[in-house]
């Protein structure tokens, strides 16, 4: 347990603008979302979340890469390789179902994390911001569904 913070604790927070989910937010709205974010560092090979975990948060990649894996029997199948700017674990925002796949860092990476309950609270306190994010999320899921239908990626069920 790190009681006195991390070495990057005093650095400026990474801008959220580069993350697609928040790209439609205005300058006035951005600080509200910034206040909700958590920032985490993962080393290459570290598990971000496991298949079967309770989904409590959505992740966005600030730097590095994350692969999405599914274990089918004894076989491990890579569903997607995600880079900076992309989000994963997004279904945690919509329901409380267990994670459908494992997320693992393939390179050292920095992730910003948003807790589902904070988003639910945002729906009540800042419905305009929440609806913008929900619209981006719907577009994002639609894109993934189209890709999955085209057979390019199979990660539309995170």
């Amino acid at each position: 347990m790190r009681l006195f913070g991390r070495h990057d604790a005093h650095e400026a927070p990474h801008p959220l603008r580069q993350i697609k989910l928040f790209s439609t937010l205005s300058r006035r709205e951005m600080p509200v979302v910034q206040a909700l974010r958590h920032e985490r560092s993962y080393l290459a090979g570290e598990v971000v979340f496991d298949e079967g975990d309770d989904g409590e948060a959505i992740y966005a990649i600030v730097s590095g890469e994350v692969e999405i894996l599914r274990h089918d029997g004894g076989r491990q199948q890579r569903l997607a390789l995600l880079a900076a700017g992309e989000v994963f674990g997004e279904l945690a925002l919509l329901d409380q179902a267990p994670r459908a796949a494992q997320a693992r860092a393939t390179a050292d990476c920095v992730l910003v994390v948003f807790f589902r309950a904070d988003f639910m609270n945002l729906l009540e306190t800042h419905p305009k911001i929440a609806s913008k994010i929900a619209l981006s999320l719907a577009r994002h899921l639609g894109g993934r569904l189209r890709q999955a239908n085209a057979g390019q990626r199979q990660d539309g069920h995170l």
Binding site: R2, H38, L43, G45, D50, A57
Partner: protein
């Protein structure tokens, strides 16, 4: 992938939760001068959080919104204090006299009731119950006034400055609450991160729901009692309703004191008709039943999701360990410790989380020793 998923806190964890609650109550009793301002600060925080959020949405930063919210709240408090103080000072002597009058009225009613019972019961008459109770109350009152009252007044006077901490605490909860939450979450290893976020959320949800439930319960109690007292015909029904509803924050003892207060007022206002006082007692029992079976489950009970047997048991334990403070604090403390204990026991008994943490530590060790 199949996971061994722990289902919840086991009997050992529950023993730990009850033990930790008892210990916390004992420790809180020792630093009550700090715990009470903390409690009031927390109530003010949950009360002011919504207007602060509205200000933030209007474009203000969290710090500015907290400054304005607490500033306006403090001004209102100072204004109310400035308005009330001269009136209270002018009536201080009157308040004391009124208090003594109501006390005498209550004692007279008790004496009349006991004497009426003595006429009905030979056993009570032979035992001289009315005389014995009257002399006991007189002795206890004298002993209280001589021995306990000065020290009680001194300790209340010593506490008053520390109560000024409450608005300061509320201000820092509002301004830095989320920052502190992030600070705590940052201290947790990646493997336990999501569970910790959930834990912090649950602790916040439980305390928020408890205090909001408490305020709702107080309003419901106050309205019911005030309406009932107004129907009975007592003077100042709203004031009495509010005072007794706030006294009910102290489990069991508070309700008894509130009931005694109303009965004293009824006995003094209507000295010739004890039926009014009995009607007040009936009203109190009715509101108490409404409270226990309807209002409490709808407000506080729902927020704590606690078995009624454990609640009652812990109220007795709280009273035995920490007196009135224990009765006041036992439910919120138990609610928070229950959430923490359940989550910790689930996390500690999840082998996959422990394995992930060990794996992450190995990776970190390899990363820092790579070029050595």
């Amino acid at each position: 992938m199949r996971r061994l998923r722990p289902s919840g806190a086991g009997p050992l964890a529950w023993c730990g939760i009850l033990l930790a609650t008892t210990l916390a109550l004992y420790l809180f009793q020792q630093v009550l001068w700090l715990v009470l301002p903390f409690l009031f600060g927390l109530i003010a925080y949950y009360f002011l959080a919504y207007p602060m959020q509205r200000l933030m949405f209007a474009g203000l930063s969290q710090e500015s919104a907290a400054n304005i919210t607490v500033g306006v709240f403090a001004l209102l408090l100072v204004g109310a204090f400035a308005f009330m103080l001269p009136r209270f000072a002018a009536q201080a002597v009157g308040v004391q006299e009124t208090g003594m009058r109501y006390l005498q009225g209550g004692l007279l009613l008790l004496d009349q009731t006991l004497r009426a019972l003595e006429q009905q019961s030979r056993f009570m008459r032979d035992a001289h119950v009315a005389d014995a109770v009257s002399s006991y109350i007189a002795a206890a009152g004298e002993g209280f006034a001589q021995n306990r009252l000065p020290s009680l007044m001194m300790s209340v006077a010593a506490w008053l400055p520390s109560m000024l901490l409450a608005p300061f605490l509320a201000y820092f909860f509002l301004r830095d609450g989320r920052r502190f939450q992030r600070f705590l979450a940052r201290a947790v290893p990646n493997a336990y991160f999501e569970r910790t976020l959930h834990l912090l959320y649950e602790v916040d949800r439980t305390t928020r729901a408890y205090f909001q439930g408490l305020v709702k319960l107080t309003v419901l109690d106050a309205v019911c009692l005030a309406a009932g007292l107004w129907v009975i015909g007592l003077s100042s029904p709203l004031t009495l309703g509010i005072i007794t509803a706030v006294l009910a924050w102290i489990s069991f003892v508070g309700s008894v004191i509130g009931c005694a207060l109303v009965v004293m007022v009824a006995a003094t206002d209507f000295p010739g008709s004890p039926s009014i006082a009995y009607a007040s007692i009936g009203l109190f029992i009715l509101v108490r039943l409404l409270d226990d079976f309807i209002f409490m489950p709808l407000t506080i009970g729902r927020s704590l999701r606690m078995h009624p047997l454990i609640t009652v048991l812990m109220i007795f334990v709280g009273g035995a360990v920490a007196g009135v403070a224990g009765l006041l604090l036992v439910l919120p403390v138990l609610g928070v410790i229950m959430v923490i204990g359940e989550t910790l026991s689930i996390v500690a008994s999840d082998p996959r989380l422990r394995a992930r943490h060990a794996h992450a530590r190995r990776l970190r060790w390899q990363a820092v020793t790579r070029d050595l």
